[in-house]
């Protein structure tokens, strides 16, 4: 990928979600979109009139919705479930765990308003734990989408693969990272920039911050590698090993608690195969709160600047 300017995309992630659901549903009558009174938040209301038999607003019943999804899966339908990330995970965890995962059923979950992108909904709505929770579930696949091309491809991929898939995303515009013909295989990461001194492994909105941090570091003659680890489970062990061997220092960056998510996944993987120092940028022992994204990023240390400073500190600069 080129290091041209980082720009917001034209389309919001929610528009891409609903358009992709529409496309899949028109092709396959077995595709069913379930939502929990947040259809207008993810733009499903815009497309539902066209596929009214394939969209169900379950009301404010996240736990019930997981069970309903299981019922659909048992009868060969392919349920796509959306609610905010914390309701999809914290609120309905046992139903997701038992009725869907343990029962080995098929479901595609979108958890939206990831982390600080929940903005003014504040602490009750701000999930810094969702990746950790789903990652704990045996055989669940966990992704964090960093732009709309990726979101679209992951949704289509998940549609084709049986099992429990969780994607976390912002609802609004992402920074454009990929062009349309990029592919996003499960268990892989994207090497966005090669480098020799330090490797920043990021996901979601932190990918743009990582790229920005790499530029700042470049000005100080530090050559940073950047990886978009969109596949958080399974994580790309091969790419991580390459990064660890080449740079000897890893920084993870996530819009999530440093426990349970990307930072944990990277640390757990590398400590078993190629131990190197790992510094985790993310939320530490804090709950969410209301505020604008930029304010919240600053508050929780989720900025390019913070990443760059951690790199400098650990490179003894």
């Amino acid at each position: 990928m080129s290091m041209t300017e980082l720009k917001l995309e034209e389309k919001e992630m929610r528009q891409v979600y609903s358009e992709t659901i529409l496309e899949l549903a028109k092709k396959d009558p077995n595709v069913i979109a379930l939502d929990a009174d947040l259809m207008s938040s993810i733009s499903l209301n815009k497309i539902s009139p066209q596929i009214s038999d394939q969209v169900i607003n379950c009301g404010i019943m996240e736990a019930n919705m997981m069970g309903v999804a299981a019922g659909f899966s048992l009868t060969n339908k392919i349920p796509f479930v959306h609610t905010f990330a914390q309701f999809a995970t914290r609120r309905a965890f046992d139903q997701l765990f038992v009725s869907l995962a343990y029962a080995k059923l098929n479901v595609k979950i979108l958890g939206s308003d990831a982390g600080v992108t929940a903005e003014h909904n504040g602490g009750t709505h701000m999930a810094f734990e969702d990746l950790g929770l789903v990652r704990l579930i045996p055989n669940a696949t966990v992704y964090e989408a960093s732009d709309s091309t990726m979101l679209r491809k992951l949704l289509i991929q998940n549609y084709k693969e049986y099992g429990v898939h969780y994607i976390r995303t912002t609802r609004k515009k992402a920074v454009k990272i990929y062009d349309e013909n990029e592919t996003f295989p499960k268990g892989k990461g994207k090497l966005l920039r090669d480098g020799t001194d330090v490797c920043i492994v990021a996901s979601g909105i932190m990918v743009a911050e990582a790229l920005q941090a790499a530029r700042e570091l470049e000005k100080k003659s530090i050559d940073a590698m950047v990886i978009d680890m969109y596949s958080i489970k399974p994580v790309d062990a091969e790419l991580l090993t390459y990064a660890a061997e080449k740079t000897g220092l890893i920084i993870t960056a996530e819009n999530h608690n440093v426990i349970g998510g990307l930072g944990s996944a990277v640390a757990e993987t590398l400590s078993e195969i190629k131990p190197v120092p790992i510094k985790r940028v993310g939320v530490r022992e804090k709950f969410g709160q209301v505020g604008k994204v930029e304010y919240l990023k600053e508050f929780y240390g989720l900025t390019a600047n913070h990443i760059a400073n951690i790199a400098l500190e650990n490179l003894g600069k």
Binding site: D37, G59, I60, A63, H125, V290, G291
Partner: protein
């Protein structure tokens, strides 16, 4: 009733002012509970800044937490914090977040916003007070959409089983939830009947009529066997004709024209309030 009407208008005024200042928020569901809050904090409950730290008093939990701005207006008017703090709603670092937070805001009893949870907490409080022999009441406002949550019905079963006659559940039946009309999403059917069949004393009243709300509470309290559930027939956006009419009135980010309409409503309310204050 005159003072109560003034209190009601002040709550509505300051609810609007907060949201207008911020530029977006949960207008619809905040406005529909204004009359109920006026009755509770202006008449029925003995909650004051002086007794707030005590356990043996009346208690209130706003289970439909997204109506926080209406509660904040009420609490500021009751003297829990300065009026001008209201204009910090949802600003970076604020003490007034969208959804009530007991650790941030003076007068807020419980942290809510994840729907269904406040109802259970109110039930727990009412049970605890009952066990310690208190004669005080626990009140909670629950949304009709919120009642989709199974947890609400777990709370209701628990309350009935424990004969919590000092629990007052007020259901804001504004007939809408986030995505639109409840009848199109999850039909509520007859909520008073539902609560009765769960073991509550229940009635349905005009939720814009403070006298009716008050009478219903008094009537409910006359029986001593069952928890009380009052279904409030309300309108989302209540009291502001433009917002009542607006179809998508859950979370609004008013356009410039809409801002003008709302500004006008604010000015009218301001006038009404100052007239009432002068004639006191």
């Amino acid at each position: 009733m005159n003072d109560l009407e003034l209190f009601r208008d002040q709550i509505r005024l300051w609810t609007l002012k907060q949201l207008h200042h911020l530029g977006f928020g949960h207008y619809g569901g905040s406005l529909s509970i204004v009359e109920t809050l006026a009755v509770l904090y202006g008449k029925e409950m003995n909650v004051t800044t002086e007794n707030f730290k005590e356990v043996d008093r009346d208690h209130f939990i706003l289970s439909k937490g997204h109506a926080g701005p209406a509660l904040y207006a009420t609490l500021a008017l009751k003297g829990f914090f300065p009026m001008d703090m209201l204009l910090t709603l949802n600003q970076n670092g604020t003490k007034l977040p969208s959804h009530p937070d007991r650790n941030l805001t003076p007068g807020v009893e419980m942290t809510t916003g994840s729907l269904g949870q406040g109802f259970s907490v109110a039930v727990g409080m009412a049970t605890s007070l009952k066990l310690s022999g208190s004669t005080h009441y626990t009140y909670t406002i629950v949304g009709d959409g919120e009642l989709n949550e199974g947890q609400c019905w777990e709370a209701a079963q628990f309350a009935a089983h424990h004969r919590l006659n000092r629990l007052v559940v007020l259901v804001d039946e504004n007939k809408k939830q986030l995505d639109g009309w409840t009848k199109d999403i999850i039909e509520t059917f007859d909520l008073a009947d539902k609560f009765r069949s769960f073991g509550f004393w229940s009635t349905r009243v005009d939720g814009a009529d403070m006298e009716a709300i008050h009478q219903a509470i008094i009537e409910g309290k006359e029986q001593k066997e069952k928890p009380i559930c009052i279904i409030l027939d309300t309108t989302k956006g209540q009291g502001i004709p433009y917002l009542e009419e607006k179809e998508a009135n859950h979370h609004i980010r008013p356009s410039d024209e809409e801002k003008d309409i709302i500004r006008q409503a604010i000015e009218e309310l301001e006038k009404k309030v100052s007239e009432k204050e002068a004639g006191r």
